[in-house]
């Protein structure tokens, strides 16, 4: 505020911009998107000096480009013709085989990994896993990259995730393939290949499966957490998993500081299946909500699919055929078995054998029974009785369901037809399922029922064509659909939503279905593989703790009704991202010095700054106060903005204005001090 008396202009200096700039840069929150697969996400959030990876999903759809790995020698597969370009210039008959008009790579299947060049993976502090399907790339991230951080997951996620990895490794290792095809990856050659191989991206980064040793090492970095457990990261950020209702131990994550909140929503479900229901209310008041893992089958109703599954199964068995259900070893299979448990008697399938074949079948069935805390209420109640929460225990006890580690060994002697076989892998490229495809594919009595939504069933079946067996597609995806998610978002009202770009437009095959996309205000921020997004935070406050001694010394004064202020002078201590304020220590007593130094040699003393003032000095009351202090000869002159008081005896001027007081007083320190104190009586100090 300019003050102009005697021609002196005082203009407030602009604040020094250098530091605010320096600090604000490091405060920007960024999201690095390492996977373009909306249900197998891998994002890295940089938030308040921490680097947090959200999931590390492994895109296994790449294996569809490979030839199946048969468990026993398959003459059909070995007789497939090699591929030679039409003009005959490129000959890759060792690496590529043709089957029913499509070309497949004859090599150990490879996976499409999360992007590893976008940022230095060794800088990642923590990895948060939301469910066991979204951790399959973990060994690629934690091993051989310099990663030294911690992985957080719930106990079921860890245990079942371990089983799925173990199964994958086992599938690959028990049928080792010497050949590793690389020539087809040459850019020049790939261009000439037929689709979809031609269009496959980043094929050079595709990798073979990891080893069990790498799995064990990766999983040894996992720290277990429970729902709603609050974990502090470096004192700066608090993370907490919430039940997401999708699978055993599946979670969404809250990443927050005292003033900012990011919600990470991954595979979530509102349907009543076996897991604990989704915790929705804790997602409220998010600044940013990262939304991934919506249903891949937005038009398929899971209940309807389950019904179709049962009726097709029953039909095939009655006709004397076998049913093959390619599936993962955990997850929907528990629901399928439960559904069948109720269905078997009514459909008079009581004598039909059900087989579950997987190296981890037994473990998966056993583990499902011991996670009472993570189950829905009904199942918890059963445990209290005490009874096993899943009825497959009874199916096993009554010999209706049998499980085997593989088709070799006991299974081959005990196996009876017609039967129902649950086995992996759902891609039909490896695992025991390959054997059953070869065994049953030629008969139209048999049926394959697809329940997993991760792979296109047509692509999955391609290397088995021509095929006589019936194919039924009943994908069961219990994850949120667009209708449910928009309702959820209305409920929890995040300020901003970040999601894969696929969710911001209708599916390619159903371009007219505008209901199959997210429509939000403000519009969601879309990401794709390799995007780097700046997250829109407006951070204005930080938490600081005032130590009791200082707190007790503060003198609050009421400035408006219900609002008090106190000036604080304190020493700031910042340690481990926690800030505390404590009283200014009293200066140590100056040691008595014999030499009396001249004042002039002493450096000028820096005192605590005086507070800012507010309010106005009322003329009448001020005059009265002056009088009380013996200043009686006062000439008051009215001006445009206030008054000028001339203290005649003292030869002093006081200019009183609405927003300023100016005391002009020469060489009379005591008087100046008195006047100052009198003026201060009428003003508020901030």
């Amino acid at each position: 505020m300019p003050c102009n008396l005697f021609g002196i202009n005082i203009v407030d200096k602009p604040p020094d911009p250098s530091y605010s700039d320096k600090y604000s840069k490091s405060q920007i929150s960024k999201l690095y998107c390492l996977s373009g697969h909306p249900t197998l996400p891998c994002n890295v959030l940089k938030f308040k000096s921490t680097t947090i990876m959200l999931d590390c999903g492994l895109d296994t759809t790449s294996v569809l480009n490979f030839l199946p790995l048969p468990l026993v020698h398959s003459s059909r597969l070995s007789k497939l013709p090699g591929w030679v370009s039409k003009d005959g210039t490129v000959n890759l008959e060792k690496e590529l085989k043709e089957c029913a008009g499509r070309v497949f790579v004859d090599s150990q299947p490879e996976f499409c990994l999360p992007e590893r060049e976008l940022l230095d993976l060794s800088t990642i502090d923590v990895i948060l896993i939301s469910n066991y399907h979204c951790m399959m790339a973990l060994p690629y991230i934690t091993e051989h990259t310099g990663f030294t951080g911690t992985v957080y997951a719930t106990e079921p996620t860890l245990q079942i995730g371990r089983l799925l990895m173990e199964e994958l490794v086992n599938f690959m290792e028990r049928v080792p393939k010497a050949q590793s095809a690389t020539c087809w990856k040459n850019k020049e050659i790939q261009r000439m290949l037929p689709g979809p191989l031609k269009d496959a991206v980043d094929v050079w980064t595709w990798k073979r499966s990891y080893s069990m040793q790498e799995v064990n090492s990766a999983l040894s970095k996992v720290q277990l957490v429970g729902y709603s457990q609050k974990v502090e990261l470096f004192g700066a950020v608090q993370i907490s998993p919430l039940s997401s209702g999708y699978s055993l131990g599946s979670s969404n994550w809250i990443i927050q500081s005292h003033h900012e909140k990011v919600s990470y929503v991954s595979g979530s479900s509102l349907l009543t299946t076996h897991p604990q229901p989704m915790d929705q209310s804790s997602l409220k008041n998010s600044d940013v909500l990262i939304l991934t893992g919506l249903t891949q089958m937005p038009t398929a109703n899971p209940d309807g699919m389950l019904g179709e599954f049962c009726s097709n199964l029953a039909m095939t068995i009655r006709a004397g055929g076998n049913v093959l259900v390619p599936c993962y070893s955990s997850g929907v299979i528990y629901d399928l078995l439960e559904c069948l448990y109720q269905f078997i008697e009514s459909a008079s399938l009581g004598t039909t054998p059900f087989y579950f074949i997987s190296p981890v079948a037994n473990s998966s069935l056993e583990f499902s029974q011991i996670f009472a805390e993570w189950l829905c209420h009904n199942k918890q109640t059963k445990v209290y009785l005490p009874e096993p929460p899943f009825p497959h225990a009874e199916l096993i006890q009554t010999n209706k369901l049998k499980h085997y580690p593989s088709i070799h060994g006991d299974f081959s002697s005990e196996f009876r037809q017609p039967c129902v076989v649950f086995t992996g892998h759902p891609s039909l490229r490896f695992g025991d399922v390959v054997h059953f495809m070869e065994l049953w594919g030629k008969s139209s009595l048999n049926t394959i029922i697809f329940t997993e939504p991760d792979f296109s069933y047509l692509d999955a079946l391609a290397p088995y064509q021509p095929l006589a067996m019936k194919c039924v597609y009943c994908p069961i995806d219990t994850r949120l659909n667009f209708h449910q998610v928009s309702k959820l978002l209305k409920e929890v009202q995040p300020l901003h939503v970040v999601c894969p770009e696929q969710y911001t437009q209708p599916p390619l095959t159903q371009a007219h279905r505008s209901d199959l996309m997210l429509e939000l205000q403000p519009p969601p921020m879309p990401y794709r593989r390799c995007s780097v997004l700046n997250l829109p935070f407006r951070r204005r406050y930080e938490r600081v703790y005032i130590l009791p001694e200082l707190a007790n010394s503060l003198v609050p004064s009421e400035i408006k009704p219900g609002i008090s202020v106190a000036t604080v002078s304190a020493v700031l201590h910042s340690k481990d991202n926690k800030h505390t304020l404590q009283s200014v220590p009293k200066p140590p007593p100056v040691p008595p010095s014999k030499k009396r130094k001249r004042v002039i040699e002493e450096p000028p003393v820096v005192l605590a700054p005086k507070p800012l003032l507010s309010g106005a000095v009322p003329l009448e009351a001020f005059l009265a106060t002056l009088q009380k202090h013996g200043i009686t000869e006062v000439k008051v002159e009215e001006t445009a903005d206030g008054h000028i008081l001339h203290l005649q005896a003292e030869d002093t001027l006081i200019q009183l204005e609405e927003d300023g007081t100016h005391i002009v007083c020469d060489n009379n320190e005591p008087l100046r001090t008195t006047l100052r104190d009198l003026v201060l009586r009428f003003l508020q100090k901030l």
Binding site: Y541, P548, A551, V568, H573, V606, H662
Partner: protein, 598 residues
Amino acid sequence: MPEIKVTPLGAGQDVGRSCILVSIGGKNIMLDCGMHMGYNDDRRFPDFSYITQNGRLTDFLDCLIISHFHLDHCGALPYMSEMVGYDGPIYMTHPTKAICPILLEDFRKITVDKKGETNFFTSQMIKDCMKKVIPLNLHQTVQVDDELEIKAYYAGHVLGAAMVHIKVGSESVVYTGDYNMTPDRHLGAAWIDKCRPDILISESTYATTIRDSKRCRERDFLKKVHESIERGGKVLIPVFALGRAQELCILLETFWERMNLKAPIYFSTGLTEKANHYYKLFITWTNQKIRKTFVQRNMFEFKHIKAFDRSYADNPGPMVVFATPGMLHAGQSLQIFKKWAGNEKNMVIMPGYCVQGTIGHKILNGQRKLEMEGRATLDVKLQVEYMSFSAHADAKGIMQLIRMAEPRNMVLVHGEAVKMEFLKGKIEQEFSIDCYMPANGETVTVTTNPSVPVDISLNLLKREMALGGPLPDPKKPRTMHGTLIMKENSLKLVSSEQALKELGLNEHQLRFTCRVQLQDPHSDPDTLHRIYTHLKSVLKGYTIQHLPDGTVMVESIVIKVSSSAEDPNTKVLLLSWSYQVKLSSFLMILSSPGISPV
């Protein structure tokens, strides 16, 4: 000054009917609600009239937390909730929630059906009471209300036993329940993080015991059982259905397997099958080894241990029988004891703590003649052995927990006064913290000194961090200044300027001007320049500017020069500064050598 109050209604300098009241940050929490094995009258239950003389407890308690399923920790629950009246939340872990109603029903049956007591809680009351239970998961932070949060930690005492951390604002209390700091054959060790509670309320059953190594204890136990079996004796092991029973079963099962022994081992029926089933379903609460191998071999499926029938007690030949209850105060264990007490070949092994008043306690104290109902006396000729298999922390374990949690104060409960006294001295000496051991109904008050959480404006904080660096120099503390705005429940610390803005207040400028005359023959601009040079040389480290409009500014102090009209050599220095100016002795500096004032 905020205070935390701790009042035991039970388990104050005693073991039994654990029930502790805690008042913290305006919240009232009851920890455990147990019964006393040593009494059959009113003293069996905690005295809830301490809380209120009339009316329901709901209005006085914010929540009730049960640490584990032993009756001395949950036995009064249906009485408290259904007969005295409490409808608020009751928290316990899943295994506790599963097992506790079964033990309560058992307790009710013995009391009402066998002893014929009336005015006791009914089966329906147990069910109604359990409906009020909210299950707790380990490490989950449960928000009881907006301010009160609780978190459970693994306690390792029995299946589902938990310690609980209670927090309101920045004040907190940890209650251990019963815990064990050494992993055993089926449970893991208790663990808590460095949560630095204001008070740690710990059990102290084995306050003075330092138990020998677990291996020795197990070897001793097996040796005694084996010797007795070898000479054709019968071994009675009184246990509670869940807890130590499973531990000893695993121990004997593996021993029988290894030694290829044939003598039968029985487990008194009733709860057994069920009990083992609970262990199988809650396998995640057992120790790591069992959890890791459960798919291949479930440790709770016993080959050698069979269900007991009453008639077997008279069978000839050696046998081992586990029978409930554990303190020989009633039921099957007492019946068998009476049958076998007269034969010196037989043996009873007491594997746990026995409360005063029970037969278990009496025989452990060497009593050889017992008065039974109806004036009959029982001569105790069989061997009486005590093997501490209770999964309680010993003195070493308690000290270890204190080291883990780093409490500011300590309260001992669930132990005997004399032993507590000893431990209290040890704790105070080793950790230099206050240790209390309140009796029932006696209140411990601890004043806390919490820091006040405040929201500081980022601008202010960053300015401070930029100036001072992130790590303050302890020798040169930098003082920061700001204004704390207190509005409703929010506390915001902002710069004074921002405070003015936020509160919609105008700044009031208070300025001072003074004239100083000095003799200087130079022209006005020269004089000003000389002043500038002089100040520059004297005031190191200050911003001194010579502005083109003919002023010199020292920080915010303005200096102007004009000549007096009469005498051009007499200069008038105009000094103007605001109230907030930091230089105090500025005038003195001006009047220093180099410039000669008038």
